[in-house]
């Protein structure tokens, strides 16, 4: 009974709008029902947008995941002072939240055409880092996304690395295992569900991102959220149901990710203290 206002609100502000997207994707431009909006998704230019979005998400999830894992392990493993670990988690907490417009600009100031690092490398080292390309492309977007992907990985994976108990390491070495065997038969199998779960989180995090890429490229990288945004910010005046179909496509991709994530999360929780 006491939860009625909450459910009413969530239904009104989350479920109904989500349902509106699902239904609207199948509506015609003027009236009636059609599958033409949705079937356009598998044709150009929209297919290209999905490919671009998925590629950026995959690259930044895998790279960010690998680097984040290495950083988290470097901070947690034996020998590293405790204060480094707490500093890394504090900083990751902040950096994982440093997205959107300010982040995009920080990179423009660093690696943009007149950025500090670009000019330094040109003048002092005579290096032309971009060689014809620039920050305002897909590669640039990927570099910038890593700034929030790596800290997110550190935050998500640190508890799992904590779960690798020192006793296991000692037990393995008492039984004659070397370092490689420990990782191959104990460490990685225990970490694997957490790592996969974290990678899915990172994928979704990047797939849903809009502000950073929009601001960095002025809307010239055609990832799906940017294309959807263009229908509402007046750059394209066209069928709003097509934007809904594009949103439906995102929803489907993310729903598949979530369906993979939940069982992995359950499996991973077993070892986390």
């Amino acid at each position: 009974m006491g939860t009625v206002p909450f459910f009413a609100y969530i239904i009104l502000m989350l479920f109904i709008p989500a349902g509106e997207v699902l239904v609207g994707a199948f509506k015609g431009a003027t009236h009636g029902w059609t599958t033409s909006n949705v079937s356009q998704l598998v044709h150009q230019p929209y297919l290209h947008s999905y490919r671009e979005s998925i590629e950026i998400s995959l690259v930044t999830a895998l790279l960010g995941g690998a680097i984040g894992l290495a950083l988290a392990y470097a901070a947690i493993r034996d020998g590293t002072p405790r204060w480094i670990r707490s500093m890394l988690t504090t900083f990751s907490g902040v950096a994982a939240n440093f997205g959107g417009i300010p982040l995009a600009f920080a990179f423009v100031a660093t690696l943009g055409t007149i950025g500090i690092a670009t000019q330094f490398m040109q003048r002092q080292l005579h290096l032309n880092v971009w060689q014809g390309a620039d920050l305002f492309t897909k590669t640039g977007v990927e570099i910038v996304y890593l700034y929030f992907q790596i800290p997110l990985m550190v935050l998500v994976i640190a508890p799992a690395i904590d779960g690798l108990r020192r006793e296991w390491r000692e037990a393995a070495s008492n039984l004659g295992a070397n370092s490689w065997q420990f990782w191959r038969y104990v460490g990685l199998p225990v970490l694997m569900p957490s790592v996969l779960g974290a990678l899915i989180l990172l994928f979704g995090n990047s797939f849903a991102a809009y502000a950073t890429a929009y601001s960095l490229t002025n809307g010239n990288v055609y990832i799906v959220p940017v294309v959807i945004g263009a229908y509402y910010t007046g750059n394209v005046s066209s069928n709003p149901h097509l934007a809904q179909a594009l949103a439906l496509g995102m929803f489907v991709v993310l729903a598949v990710m979530m369906a993979l994530y939940i069982p992995l999360q359950r499996r991973a929780a077993r070892w986390v203290r």
């Binding site: 006491g2 939860t3 206002p5 909450f6 969530i10 502000m13 989350l14 709008p17 989500a18 509106e20 997207v21 609207g24 950083l71 470097a74 493993r77 020998g79 590293t80 480094i84 890394l88 907490g93 902040v94 994982a96 939240n97 440093f98 997205g99 959107g100 417009i101 300010p102 995009a104 600009f105 920080a106 990179f107 100031a109 660093t110 007149i114 500090i116 690092a117 929030f148 935050l155 390491r169 000692e170 070495s173 979704g204 849903a208 809009y210 502000a211 950073t212 929009y214 601001s215 959807i228 509402y232 910010t233 809904q244 949103a247 995102m250 929803f251 993310l254 729903a255 990710m257 979530m258």
Partner: protein
């Protein structure tokens, strides 16, 4: 296997490289903001002067702060009693709420705003055309996962049943129990959720841009497009605000029962 006494060389290399990658853009933004408009050389504080004397900077920041406060107030009013009630009376619903807190992952802001814009198009102007209505309504949904995970861990750390029974056997009403007994005990959790919400709303661009309200991030983007060096100063101010919110969060997080998930943000 012996326990390592000093930091492993490979670990040190990783950590140094990581630190460099994360600190470089911040230092670069700072140096960039000190450049002179005419020559592009160091150093002047003209960009900061420009930002401080810019009326739109203050009006958009003020709007965003007010929206954040309204979002926090509505979220606390909506979510604190709900999580309290679920912990007290219907613990079976807890997994349902936890699952619903994952839904915003599947319905990200860009999808949510498309649905909201289409569904609420015909509604009264005081709702649809006002940031106080439309934007806050959407932001309360965005805040839900962060509020829920903070509050949930807060409520788990206290004995809801004993506190409620003690309060009621002394004659307190439901409202009084909630405000004078429960709320002080979950203060740290509520604060943690509030700081996260503050950080989200102050950085939120997607929904504001598609529904065309002129909040602080929209202003920031406008400056990015028009005034390069001033944008450096404005970006640092915005970053300082995020830092302050997140560090306050970590500060209250040290207290009992407020171990919130710190993955928010406006990508």
């Amino acid at each position: 296997m012996t326990t390592r006494r000093f930091i492993a060389p490979s670990a040190a290399v990783w950590l140094l490289l990581g630190a460099a990658y994360f600190i470089l853009p911040l230092v670069a933004t700072f140096l960039f903001s000190l450049r002179q408009l005419q020559t592009g050389h160091c150093c002047t504080v003209a960009s900061y002067t420009w930002v401080i004397h810019n009326g739109q900077f203050w009006s958009s920041l003020r709007l965003s702060v007010e929206l954040a406060l309204e979002t926090i107030a509505v979220s606390l009013l909506l979510y604190v009693p709900t999580v309290y009630w679920v912990h007290l009376k219907v613990p079976k619903l807890r997994p349902v709420l936890a699952f619903m807190a994952l839904i915003p992952f599947v319905v990200p802001p860009i999808v949510l705003v498309v649905g909201l814009l289409n569904f609420y198009k015909g509604t009264p102007i005081w709702f649809y055309a006002q940031p106080w209505g439309f934007l806050v309504a959407a932001y309360v949904v965005l805040a839900f996962p962060y509020m829920f995970f903070s509050l949930d861990s807060g409520f788990r750390a206290i004995d809801v049943h004993t506190l409620t029974e003690a309060s009621q056997s002394l004659g307190a009403s439901w409202g009084r129990t909630l405000f004078q007994v429960i709320l002080p005990n979950i203060r740290a959790a509520a604060l943690a959720g509030s700081f996260l919400t503050l950080a989200i709303v102050l950085g939120e661009f997607t929904i504001a841009n598609l529904s065309q309200f002129h909040t602080f991030p929209i202003y920031l983007q406008y400056v990015n497009e028009t005034q390069a060096y001033a944008a450096g100063a404005a970006t640092l101010v915005s970053f300082g605000i995020t830092w302050a919110a997140m560090l306050s969060l970590l500060f209250v997080g040290r207290k009992r029962g407020a171990r919130a998930s710190v993955v928010a943000g406006a990508r």
